[in-house]
Structure formats: C-alpha cells, structure tokens
C-alpha cells in the first residue's frame, strides 16, 4: 500500500497530462494556468514555511558538539565540529549543506560472531550527494530555457556535463545519473528492512515523481526529440508573462511539465522542505559558546523555587547540631 498508492498517483498524473496535452483546448490549462499556479504555490508556500521557522524562538543554545570544545589555550579546539564563533558556524553549515558532513560520518552496526561491530558505511552519503548534485546540475542546465541570451556559465556547465561526447543529441551525464541515483534511493528503501519499515507513502511519492520527471525528460531529449526551439519560445512566453501555446511541442512535454508542477506545488507541504529546514536546525547552526556569552531565551519566566531561607527554616536544628553556619540564629 505504502508503495502502491504513490506509484499509482504519479502514473495517474502522467496519464492525465498525456490526455490533457493532447486536447488542444486544454493545452492552455496544462501549459499556462497550472504552471503559474504551481509556481505561486511553491514560492508562497516555501516562504511561509521559512518564515514560520524563522519566527519561532530558539530558547536554548543546543548545538550537538562533535569535536573538542574551546577551552584552555594549549588544547586545540575543533572549530568545524564544535564552533565557538559565528564564522565557524558558517563553515560547519557549509560542510553540512554542500558535502553532507553528518551523513559522511555514517556507520553500520552488526552482530558478527556474537560481537557487536561497527564499521564506516558511505553508500547513503554517496547516493545522496550524487542525487542532489545531479539534480542541481539538471536544474541549472534547464536555466538556458528561461533566459535569453544564455549566459556563458551555463555553456560551461553543459560542456562539463557532456564531456564524454556520446551520441546525438549529445548525452548529458547528469540526467542519467540522476535517474540511477533515484533508483538507488528507492531500492534501499524497499531493500533494507528497517528503512522499509519506517518509510511512508510520502517518502515514495517524491521519488516516483522525480524518477518520472527525469525519465520523461530523457525520453523527450533523446528519443522523441522534442522541438526545443518551440519549447524555449513557450517557456520564454511564460517567463515574460505573455504566455502562448506553441503548437507541436508534443504531449510528452506536457507530461513532463505537469509532473514538475506537481513537484513544485507539493514541495512546501512535504518532507522536501528539508532543503530549507536544514538551515534552521539549532543543533547545527549555533555556536557552542553558551559559557562565554549568555544565550537569551525570549520567553524565560520566573519559576517557583525553594529558597535557602526556607531550607534553613526547615533544617535549622539539624544544621546547628552539625555545626553548620546559620543565617538566622
């Protein structure tokens, strides 16, 4: 069920797009109305979620320290794993966001010959970083459809992405690798019993969605050979707010588009918000300097305490007998 429902959902979206894209009268809906709606939902939703996190207070300074603290001057502290100041926090966050530092630490524990042993295990890190890097590259390459003239840096990206010089149109590696990485992330989800056990439909849905997007994109570029000039004119129409349906760009393009729109609209309401959330994690984005600088809790309030006076009142005789000094004789 957990796998089946999201699979059917993605398949349905795909088929719906094929059908709608084939009906000329409905092309405006799928090509213009839905994309605009999706982008608005994405931006508004994303911003709302970020603002929601941003506005919520951080009452305590709770970094997870993964290295030596700043202490005596002759003990070397680990600024990257246990930052003592803001600039080091930026470095720690950069390592986390760009290189997935914490995942890189991953270990695997198992019982071997009656003993519990732990070993380094980097597969998830590799799969994740390849997935995100290729996704980003694909996204970057698509920017050429959104700007005119195409900036030089995008040409460089394309050049690097196609340096193996295979086939016509020339093969971009990122798309294929993205597809493989998605398959890997899916495969581990159903293959590793623990991961399968914890997975929700919401974990499979975006994987299927991204798989379908990548597959339809590859199909369009290498097999049906979509009218790329028409696509660019169509997208520039959307970008310049003068949308016009381009005849003959093919139903597979509309399927690709609707899947992307689904992803955009789904994004702010899903776990995909980890993309923004990672920046707000107090265990990573704070300096471990709470003994040096007082961290302020905006909602700190007075609490009922048991004062020394109350304590002495209760135990005065016993304290006197024990020879303890008293405030009130």
């Amino acid at each position: 069920m957990k796998v089946f429902v999201p699979l059917v959902a993605v398949a349905a979206i795909f088929l719906l797009a094929l059908i709608l894209g084939g009906i000329p009268h409905l092309q405006f809906l799928i090509g213009v109305v839905i994309p605009y709606a999706a982008i608005i939902i994405f931006i508004a939703g994303f911003v709302a979620r970020i603002m929601d996190w941003f506005k919520s207070p951080v009452p305590f300074c709770i970094p997870t320290t993964c290295g030596q603290q700043k202490t005596l001057p002759w003990i070397k502290n680990n600024e990257l794993e246990n930052p003592s100041k803001g600039s080091s926090v930026i470095m720690r966050m950069a390592l986390e966001v760009l290189l997935f530092r914490s995942l890189f630490r991953n270990t695997f524990s198992e019982i071997r010959d009656g003993r519990l042993v732990h070993s380094s295990r980097k597969w998830l890190w590799l799969g994740a970083i390849v997935f995100h890097a290729t996704f980003f590259t694909v996204l970057l390459r698509h920017m050429r459809l959104f700007v005119e003239p195409v900036p030089r840096c995008l040409h460089v990206v394309e050049l690097l992405d196609s340096f193996m010089q295979i086939g016509t149109p020339i093969l971009y590696m990122s798309g294929v690798i993205l597809l493989l990485a998605t398959v890997y992330l899916f495969a581990r989800r159903i293959h590793i019993p623990q991961v399968k056990y914890i997975s929700l439909p919401a974990d499979y849905f975006p994987l299927f969605l991204i798989f379908a997007i990548a597959l339809s994109g590859i199909f369009m570029r290498y097999f049906t050979k979509v009218d790329i000039v028409g696509v660019k004119q169509f997208i520039m129409g959307l970008v310049t707010l003068s949308p016009r349906i381009q005849p003959g760009i093919g139903t597979i393009f509309y399927a690709h588009l609707l899947l992307v729109c689904t992803l955009l609209a789904y994004f702010p309401f899903s776990k995909l918000m980890h993309a923004g959330g990672v920046f707000f994690s107090p265990t990573r984005n704070m300096a471990n300097n709470s003994r040096i600088v007082r961290h302020i809790n905006p909602w700190n309030y007075k609490v009922k305490v048991h004062t020394y006076e109350e304590y002495e009142d209760e135990f005065r005789e016993k304290m006197r007998k024990a020879g303890l000094p008293l405030d009130k004789e």
Binding site: S56, E96, P282, H295
Partner: protein, 548 residues
Amino acid sequence: MSKTIKPEEMSKINYLPPEKEWMDNKVDIQKGMFCHGAKEASLAAVDFPNPRQWSVTDEDWKLPSNWQEIVIKGMAERLEKYRSFKVFMDVCVRCGACADKCHFYLGTGDPKNMPVLRAELLRSIYRKEFTKVGKILGKLAGGRELTMDVLKEWWYYFFQCSECRRCSVFCPYGIDTAEVTIIARELLNLLGLNIEWLAGPVSNCFRKGNHLGLEPHTITGTIESLVDDIEEMTGVRVNPSFNRKGAEILFITPSGDIFADPGIYTCMGYMILFHELGLDYTWSTYASEGGNFGFFTSNEMAKRLNTKIYAEAKRLGVKWILGGECGHMWRVLNQYMDTWNGPADFLQVPKSPITGTVFENAASTKMVHISEFTADLIKHNKLKLDPSRNDDLIVSYHDSCNTARGMGLFEEPRYVLNNVVNHFHEMPEHTIREKTFCCGSGSGLNASENMDLRLRGGFPRGQAVKFVRDHNNVNMLSCVCAIDRAALSTVCDYWAPGVAVCGVTELVANALVMKDEKKRNKNLRGELLPGCVEEDEEDEDNDEEKEE
C-alpha cells in the same frame, strides 16, 4: 529477570522488523523494560499535575477526562516555544541513518527504538493535528489519532530514550531525539505520567537540595567519614568546609559522589586534590546536587532545581564555581544554566588561584569543569604525580554522552589520564568521543526494576569494554559522570566482567604525591598499591621503635 538471562542469550538480537506496519502494532509493555510510575506524594511535592496512586500495569492510568485536549494544547504551546521541536517535526526524510545509532535499538532490536521511529510516534500525531495534509489524508500522510494506546506507547518508548544525542550526530539535519524526548516527557508530565525514579529525586532535590534526599547533617557526616578514610589511606587529614561565607570557590558535584560506591572514591579524590592545593573552597548543603533530574521531566522543573547553584554562590559570596564529574550536569551547566538563571554578574571570571589561568571559556557562566581545572594544574607542573601508583590498572576512558555531545569535553580528561596512569587504551573508534555509547541508564533510567532495559541499552558500551578487556587487558574504565560510575559498574559486571569503573579524579588522587603524606601502600579503595605489601602489626612496631 535479567539475572536469569545470560549475556550470550541477550546478545542474540533480531534486528529484522516485524511484518505488520508499526502503526498497527500495539505497544506491549514488558516487565524489566520500564520504571515504576511516579508516586502521588512525589508529584504533589513539586506541584506536578495529576498526582494520584496509579500503576503502569493497570489498564486505567487515571487520567483527566480531557487528557487528549491537554496533550494537543501542550504540543501547540511547545511548537510555538521551540524552533527545534517545530523543525524536527517537519524535516525528517526517514533516510534511516539514525536507525542503528541508538544503543537501545542495538540492544533490543525493537524497531520503535530506532530514533526515527521514536520521533515518528510523536510526529504522527503532529501531522494529524497540526498539518493540513495530515488532517485531510490521515494515515496516508503518516498521521494517526491520539488514542490511549498511542499515549502508552509514548510513555513506554520516551522512557526508553536516554537523551544521549548520538543519533543527532549522524542525522543530516541534526535532528536531536533528545529534544523530541524532552518535549514528549513534558507532555506526559502534564498528565502526571512520570516515573518515580525521576519524580522522587526531583522532589528530594527541591526540598533537601539533592537527589538522594540527604539532609544537611547527613551530608557533613558522610563527608567526614570519607575524610577519615582519606586519613587512613594517606595519613593526611583534609579539612572540608560547608556553607562557608567568603570562600573563594563553591564546589558542586552530584550527590551520588558523596554516597554511592564507586563515586565516593572520586569524592575523596576531589578533597585530596583541593587539600593539596590549599584551595579556599566550600561545599554547600543547600546546593548539594550537581545533577538535575528535573531536566528529564520538564524545562521548568530543571530551572527550579538549577536556581540553587547561582543563588547559593551569591549568598556565600564566592568568586566562582567549580563543578565535579557529572554528565548531564555539564550539559545543563553548559547549555542551559546561564540562560535560565543568569546573568551571574555577581561572580568573577574564574581564575585558578594556583596557576593564574583565567578560564575565558567560562567567562559568563563562571563555572569550571574539574577536568579543565586539573588539566591546567598538570600543564603548569603544579602537581607532583607518581603514575606508577596506578600501574596495576590498565585504563580506558568512557566519554559521557553529555560532556561529549553537549559540550565537547574530550581532550581535558584524556590529558589528565595520560599524566596519572601509565597504561591507557582507547575503545574502538566508533564507540568513543562524539560517537560514544550511552551507559544505557542515562536521563533518569538508572532504576533497578528496569534492569533488562539498562543491560540491553548498555550492550554496545559493554561490547566495546569487552573488546579492550580482551585485547588490551583493560581492567578499569574511567569516566567523568556519576550516573556512569554507578551504571557502568553494572554494565561491565554483566557484559565485561573483571572491569571496574572509576572517576578520573580518583586516579588523580591515587597518583598525587602529597606533601605530608605517610608512605602510601594503598589506593583510595583500600587496595594495595603495586609492589606494596600489607603492613602488619609487627612492621609497624618495628617502625615505631626505630623512630623512637
């Protein structure tokens, strides 16, 4: 129960999750895995909600009729107050990196002990009650209703988390299950669903100043008896003072150090060290607890207990505070105390009267860790040390979860150890420092009725100790945590028999050559030092004759 299961049996753990989906698997509360419910009197003593007589094994937990409303309101309030809670409810992608990082999961194989699933127990209710998608799609979106079964499941599993933060080290978003457990326990506490092992010490600490409920004369009496022991071993009579106004330093350590074996040897170590330095310090009977079990019940209770430290420092007019060896105490001191009860502007930035070192890293809290203090002394050659006195010990070091992942105290104790012992071996790399494994009894779970849970939770640590015992002949596991000293003794007896547990300062005091000491032939435990023989009556007589 645990006594009847052999370690070989207990270490056969099935990590394969059941066929049935986790939401459909009703909680099965098993004997040996949980602590007794909090008593009426303990809850009432600190104005905790819903004090009543109840038992975990009863079907009816005697909750207020609107308990669901209380929980949901409590969640809403905490979502407003804690960014951590909100973000951690939202961003988990269930990648599973945390799954095999939890000592309770590794020791039980119970999938609900995987950190991700422990958080999902709460997250599923969050989705259902606080997200649009969850409200509409329900189970399809990973949401579920808050039922009595769910509540019992929360209680069972949030008291099977020791807030050690190991999972948080591995999470790509830094999701900290300790934070989730802290909030979950607060919610349970709103309904009076605490455990007695926490509620009892908390009410003790509130009124009497320490978890054990030691009254002022008992504290002085107990410490005096330790002073006698010190004299017997060293020939030196140390002279601790209590509640003394005008002392330079207030010393605070967990009450377990005063009372429980083997913590008392560490306590003797503190007093020997301070005496040798001629330190102008005082104990307090009012603030006689470094630890803070309030931290494991609610943020407010933690603050109420923690208040005493600064209040007492102010009343006594000390310049700064020195803290003993304790794990969660130091997480609280490092990350919470100043925020709750600061600013401590009536204190001075700590300065070692012996070396002149100013502890800039405690510029605001004004509180220094004993390992920082001792490391500085050794670095400045202020201690005469004879590590060979510890030569019968082959030592390893257990990083306490909280000083490791909530502070980053790694090198100080190691530097100290390397100067006071000659034989030191680290445990395997994935089980130390920021990846250290919990003793299995942290966060107030060191009761006796949940021994099964504690031994299972101590399995990864026990296995690592066993490894160095078998490969390096390690026979002593040192640590800087009072709960560890008590809990690891049990864990080692079970998983790695032959390995004893001690505090770092105990080893310091063994090695410390005091100015006025007699010829020492015993360590603080009264065991013969290497190469020494028991002095019998005759020898003593002879000695006396010679002196005459």
